[in-house]
Symmetry: C2
Subunit: 206 residues, 2 copies
DNA sequence: TTTATGTTTAACAATTTTGTTAAAAATGAA
DNA sequence: TTCATTTTTAACAAAATTGTTAAACATAAA
């Protein structure tokens, strides 16, 4: 029994499919295109993952988990609130730079089929919202931050981080950026977002 | 020659297809589903619009024009800058309430095929960006607004307006809102966005 | 009523895509 | 090497979808 070979091919398909979907943005890639990208026979996709659908679920779970772990770690540290949020912004943008089309996928899948939202849900205790609210309210009562509900705070934050990823093409066209300029724009944007949220310059966070 | 009947059916297909695509969110509706929604034979779609593709282009052009006209009118008035922006926010949200899935469509189409961005581009002279920049810079030099580039200003603004539309399902699930609550949330959000942008309460604009 | 024109329909062909399967190939233990 | 198991392949079947076409139908003018 060659367990190594199996893992090799299975992992190869997953890796290449991730590239195709979340990096190249071919969200409706066919099983044939996935097979081509991985350089394997199309039937292997069904052999290892049963269906296109199940492959997708597997990929999503992996990539979402990667993102959620990073965020959970940041939000569970003992840093001051504003530092945490600065790191949070950085993590969202960086993950977006790694998988530029992941958010597009989440958005189109959930729009097409709201039930599939389950695939993207994190465990109750780790939801960013819960991890942020208490500390946010403390800061507000101390007068360090203008009053705002946790709901609006989070949605503002995530809107400012995610929309420029979703609208890559629109923004590039509209503001005449090539890929390099767009990347640079996103990196610089971390500071812009922090300033929009807190109305003050972002401190350096390693 | 029954010109009336033709316009009736043609307009019927367009109207029902708009509902299907931009209101119900079935962005990948088949020609059969479109025909069913309009209660006509599927071949009529090809008779009037040649292909599914061309129907889509027609619909888009109409809906985008409707949106762009509203925005152009707001930005070309002589109102004070902050009033204009308040109206601009209102118009973006209201259009999103009318066609909840239009932005999803723009985003997925341009991600899938960047060339198709042409379909969404407005004429150079009417681009919101151009209409806002000069006045924004004036306000900044008068010290009424914190320094920010027009690019970042616009992208912040549009991110805050559009993301909650794109992420309808995610937000509803995450914050436990039904459709009514979500609508209310969007309407109230106009003030939240204004405050996030200008750091002060939004004045009443009719 | 006849005729020409425009509108609608059912049936068909072509293509694309998914998933299955039986057989071939590779692998590794006995 | 032999044999059992796993992996891979090519070929096939089924379903979905788009676009075409020829004929039926409706309408209004002559």
């Amino acid at each position: 029994m060659s367990k190594e070979k199996e893992l090799e091919t299975e992992a190869l398909i997953k890796d290449k499919a991730k590239v195709l979907f979340f990096q190249k943005g071919l969200l409706d890639a066919t099983t044939q295109e996935i097979a081509d990208e991985a350089g394997v026979n199309r039937a292997l996709i069904h052999y290892y993952f049963r269906s296109r659908e199940q492959l997708m679920e597997t990929l999503l779970e992996e990539v979402m988990l990667e993102k959620q772990e990073t965020i959970r770690e940041i939000l569970k540290t003992e840093h001051p609130f504003k530092i945490k949020i600065a790191k949070f912004i950085g993590a969202l943008i960086d993950h977006g730079l790694k998988y530029p089309y992941l958010e597009n996928f989440v958005i189109s899948e959930t729009a097409r089929n709201p039930d599939r939202i389950k695939l993207f849900r994190q465990k109750e205790k780790n939801r960013s919202h819960e991890l942020v609210r208490q500390q946010l309210e403390e800061e507000i009562s101390k007068g360090n931050i203008d009053p705002i509900t946790a709901q609006n705070f989070m949605i503002n934050l995530i809107s400012l981080c995610n929309y420029p990823l979703l609208a890559k093409t629109v923004i590039q066209c509209f503001h005449g950026m090539n890929d390099t300029e767009y990347r640079k724009f996103l990196v610089q944007r971390k500071q812009v977002i922090y300033k929009a949220i807190f109305n003050e310059e972002m401190p350096d966070v390693e």
